[in-house]
């Protein structure tokens, strides 16, 4: 059993599409924020996969760096979204 770049990109695409689906499907905009980590995660997986399987180009660690940056950006944007939504009643 093995996994190549095409399999990695398929998973990345699936994550981006599921994130877009969550963002459009949820009627509550605060809940739709949950799609953001999935889309950013998909992008990060694509970067990490491209760096892992790339034939040339330095540094090889570039994909891992972008994936880590995207994870931090996700947390910041979700915090901003929840903060903008403000405090309310539980639902």
């Amino acid at each position: 059993m093995s996994a190549g770049l095409v399999a990695v990109l398929f998973v990345a695409v699936a994550l981006v599409a599921v994130g877009a689906f969550v963002a459009t499907w949820k009627r509550d905009l605060s809940s739709a924020l949950a799609g953001l980590p999935l889309m950013f995660g998909g992008a990060g997986v694509a970067f990490a996969g491209a760096a892992r399987f790339s034939a040339a180009g330095d540094p090889k660690i570039f994909g891992q760096e972008v994936a880590a940056l995207l994870a931090v950006a996700t947390l910041a944007l979700v915090a901003l979204g929840v903060g903008i939504a403000g405090r309310g009643t539980s639902r």
Partner: protein, 162 residues
């Protein structure tokens, strides 16, 4: 990629995509937060199986934070004025996006190479972040700063308005 890494990759892929679908269909904030955490666990596993261990650790922490924020019991619900038909169109658009990108990935012509990495490599990532891509790291730091200040300010303004 050897068999062990490949199995880890496919299991993590199933967990992350399955967790994402649970986020879409589960009712309630707590359940959605748990689903985001599950999806984050899968994404961290994907990074680890792709020899990006440091990114996996960062993702694990950040997605746990996202899950806590999304599961928080007292943030305000903001209902969208968009109708059901438009939401359906958006869902179909997401499926179309998947089809187009999957076709591009499937038809792409990629050159495979041997990877000699595998270690966590925090020192190398630190060098890349703070020497090679210092502007990117600074921009992300500014984004985090603005996000936290903005979230706090928005929260306080709403509280004061009550």
């Amino acid at each position: 990629m050897d068999s062990l890494h490949a199995i880890g990759f496919y299991v993590s892929a199933a967990i992350s995509v399955g967790g994402g679908l649970l986020v879409a269909f589960l009712p309630g904030r707590g359940a959605r937060g748990l689903a985001v955490a599950l999806s984050g666990l899968g994404i961290a596993g994907l990074y680890a199986s792709l020899s990006a261990d440091f990114a996996g650790l960062v993702a694990l922490v950040c997605y746990a934070g996202c899950a806590l924020l999304i599961a928080a019991p007292r943030y305000r619900s903001v209902d969208s004025p968009v109708g059901f038909a438009w939401r359906q169109a958006g869902a179909v658009g997401a499926a179309g996006l998947f089809a187009v990108l999957a076709y591009a990935a499937f038809r792409g012509d990629f050159v495979e190479a041997t990877y000699r990495g595998g270690e966590i490599g925090t020192a190398a990532i630190g060098r890349v972040l703070f020497a090679h891509d210092a502007l990117t790291a600074a921009a992300l730091g500014a984004l985090v700063f603005v996000a936290l200040i903005g979230a706090t300010a928005a929260w306080r303004v709403r509280e004061r308005g009550r």
